[in-house]
Amino acid sequence: MMEVTYLGVIIKAILILAIISAVAGFGTYIERKILAFMQRRLGPMHVGPYGLLQIAADGIKLFTKEDFIPQNANKLIFMIAPIITAATAFIALSAVPVFPDFTIFGIFVPSVASDINIGILFVLGMMAAGLYGPLLAGMSQANKWGLIGAARTAAQFVSYEVVTGLSLLAPIMMVGSLSLIDFNHYNETHAWMVFTQPLAFVLFLIAGFAETNRTPFDLLEHEAEVVAGYATEYSGMRWGMFFIGEYANMITIAVLASIVFLGGYTDLGFIPGWLAIILKIAFMFFLMLWVRASWPHVRPDQFMWLAWKVLMPLAVINVVITGIVIMV
């Protein structure tokens, strides 16, 4: 029954690519609309009903725009960098379960493209490898703003990565497994982790915002300071790939938060599991936009101060307290 076929894996990989790319495109529209409503504007309105076809217009623009490579740039690395961002974001999604296992046409379908028993670490490791996209992009483009963006990438990365790992360590200790499916089973019999590990949830959220370069921590590309940071010299589809990667990472963080802290895809009263997790992911996505509309971004030194002097000690204390509670 638990048979995994090559065909099934390939179909799921293609489905992940297709669905997440589409959702990423749609995410840009939703982001502009929600930001517009929060700022009492209308947002995109002209293309199609309520501006819905704006995505198609943007897509045509991105695909047909000239792919520009600066003269003094390192051409090979410059061309590879956006692919790294997009690829690592999608590879990270391959180990994330979204729906409960189901049966279709009499064939048993497990919910995750590749169920490795250290799922949560794999996702974090792959997202960590995503750092090379902005880093190499910034260093290869022979542009001062890009170099500053790359330096900020490295500085931001070493700051938040510690917090992500340590904040997830306490839930991992409680579940006693690294498999995301075990995390979901834990939620079936216990209270949601957000109630038993509230501090870890907040720390993970903050680190997740930094991981996806969302607004309070979008140091790498903040327009008012470094033009567009690592993406200054990019145009067309290569620029688009950075943002598909960013939206895919946002979805990954939203799924991780839903499964680890918010009960995952267990049935919620009368709401079936698959609908419950879609609602949770949508809420987490909305939360990221909400925060973007509400908060100004921080300075790099403020972010590093926050990560090293506040969040990391809090995460360590949380791990120690969790350990004592489990031992007693």
Binding site: N117, A128, A129, E161, L178
Partner: protein, 184 residues
Amino acid sequence: MIPFAFYLFAVLITGLFLVAVLSRNVLYAMTSLAAGMVLISGLFFILGADFLGVVQLIVYVGAVMGLYAFAMMFFDVSREVRETRSNPWLVFLLGGGIALMLVVMFAAPIVGDSVKALYPPVAHTTNPQAVGLVLFTKYLLPFEVASVMLLVAMIAGIILAGRKMEISLSAMDEDILPETKENA
């Protein structure tokens, strides 16, 4: 399938690390080193050591290469690095060493057949549990020594970098800064 994957990874890793050593461009060297590190984790996955594979990803690709990248910011990446090889004896010794190592590597399977695992993995444990069991029983002492060593390195790092740490340039009043005085 597994031999094919192994040879694919082996060829790619060797090629990428050759680029890392031979290239005169800092960016090429750094990128290929990072890519090689990612592919090494693939070897761990083939062996069924998922946990070690992910640790390879997080530690080497994430942390170690992240710090390398930080150091690379001080180079001008658009220029080629000029190396000075002054000592011919060094080239001779290193070349001889590499040749010797190749011989040992190709001879290794002859010796390897008779090697038995001293601590075979305990049955019915997952990957992290198996690593933890060996680490906290047989290898507890080396583990603790390593942790003390890392603590020493951390304190040393803080002391080296921590001079004048209470002075924050960005929190300073602008007209106190020495550069702005000169400009004005």
